[in-house]
Symmetry: C2
Amino acid sequence: MPGPRPGGSTQGCGGPCAALALKSIDYETIPINLVKDGGQQFSEEFQALNPMKQVPALKIDGITIGQSLAIIEYLEETRPTPQLLPQDPKKRAYVRMISDLITGGIQPLQNLSVLKQVGQENQLTWAQKAITSGFNALEQILQSTAGRYCVGDEVSMADLCLVPQVANAERFKVDLMPYPTISRINKTLLALEAFQVSHPCRQPDTPPELRA
Amino acid sequence: MPGPRPGGSTQGCGGPCAALALKSIDYETIPINLVKDGGQQFSEEFQALNPMKQVPALKIDGITIGQSLAIIEYLEETRPTPQLLPQDPKKRAYVRMISDLITGGIQPLQNLSVLKQVGQENQLTWAQKAITSGFNALEQILQSTAGRYCVGDEVSMADLCLVPQVANAERFKVDLMPYPTISRINKTLLALEAFQVSHPCRQPDTPPELRA
């Protein structure tokens, strides 16, 4: 059986890579440089793996899965330990709502291809607006769902989405003072090994200037 | 027990409303006009329901869930008949990948708040680019996953995402000729009653000029 082998990368792989680490699943990373050669995600080879031309993509059990949350849900269903979704359906709904808010409501608006379209001089303002608008909502939601982590006291898929998004916020110099709950949970998560090894600044192909 | 009661609306509610219809769940719609009064989704009342200030939001079983896929997954876990996710984990992964591609990779780039930022004269080009780029990937994926519907021969969450996105494509005058699989599945789905009652053009608050 071929092992999991994500054609994943740096900025894009935070969530799924942390899931693989938490579940102790061994995998091979194929770094995709989103800038070099006009973006290696546009190569024919990568496009055959993931038509969306986006990272990450996971090749596992004979299939290739694109989209971070679809990857994490598949890992959860086929390798359930430790759980990344709570047992209680209502808590599961909160986890998915937060995950969707981040990966569908914030991340797509500040990804590389959108920022290219926006033009260099408007990029920072555009990204900051997308992130603060999403974080305003997220902070309010977390105030009623969070315990030690995003939903209660167990690490969940929502936490896997939070950490790379906060890293992006820092990259775009978003002031995190108005988001005490987001900041507190992020700090607590970063103390866990799975989040350290999968953090964008630690990926094998991270440029030296972005490394921790 | 309070019944499901989505504070849902028009353009935003296609997927979850079709899920409610397919599962024969009775509900009350509170139309939110995204344009009138500067956007009713920004009202304090709606913001308390959904901090993301986006439609749809579903109030059900004592909790409020925002984000379309989180709503559908909750309905699936608590009201499993008829199934909107296949049994096989690999097929479930395909359903989620397609759903995430549409709701996370296409829809957020052409929603109302983004188009406002882009400015009126660039809106059409911007929306068309987001949709064609996503549809190019989607068409390629569907060619290997589709049967009668997006994944195999059973209606799934992916189909619930497809129909409103094709409606958006038509609204933005995207040429659908290059997407025979998308078009064929959309047409097949529109013959089903659940998709007719939940179609954007049939919502109670749809302006007359957009009605079928």
